[in-house]
Symmetry: C2
Amino acid sequence: MSFVLHPRLAADTLHVGDLPLCRVLRMNDARFAWLILVPQRADIVEAYELPAAEQATLWGEATDMGRALMAHTGGDKLNIAALGNQVPQLHIHVIARKLGDAAWPGPVWGVGTPQPIADTSAEIQRLQNALGLQP
Amino acid sequence: MSFVLHPRLAADTLHVGDLPLCRVLRMNDARFAWLILVPQRADIVEAYELPAAEQATLWGEATDMGRALMAHTGGDKLNIAALGNQVPQLHIHVIARKLGDAAWPGPVWGVGTPQPIADTSAEIQRLQNALGLQP
């Protein structure tokens, strides 16, 4: 089986670029600086189902993207989370939170209504530059 | 500066044991199979503030504890999250979720009222055995 992005993730996000292991997506919600990383492997639900070397790559990519996103957005607190209670395909949320943002200090999931990004191609380009991802 | 556990984490949890990097705590809430891992390092807020080798150890310990907790509890979905919006000391939530649990399918944070564990010493001993932690 080859990797296919879950349709729910595809519908909710913009494609920013690909790292050695993970596809990097931007949640299409202008309220939050919110990436989602999805390891490009078929049929993986839990991080521990990946080979040990890929587990390390997974979390390393999430941490590196988090650091770059915090620098890019001037974030106050990084949130990194693998939940997957609703979409089983393994995906890691990487969110640069701001004091007083629409969910602060609670978690972002399920809060209010997503606000679609107005100029998606400009946002993707900014993120590719900030995260060092090739278009 | 030496490591001191944040008083809020100390108040909300039971001490299960220590790994090479992280202190392993059990959230004192019987509704959820919920560990918290805290790297025993002073003044760390974000995972990327740790040296690269310790970042790998941090996530490796979280993933390993998650796998063991899932096996011990028969969990349906593992949640791993570093949030820290309210308690700045870096800590990783590791939660073995069950279908239909008190927060399912939403995240556990801020849901309802924690239910204190009745027999804390029995619970700690069970977890030490299940997680391979020395008393």
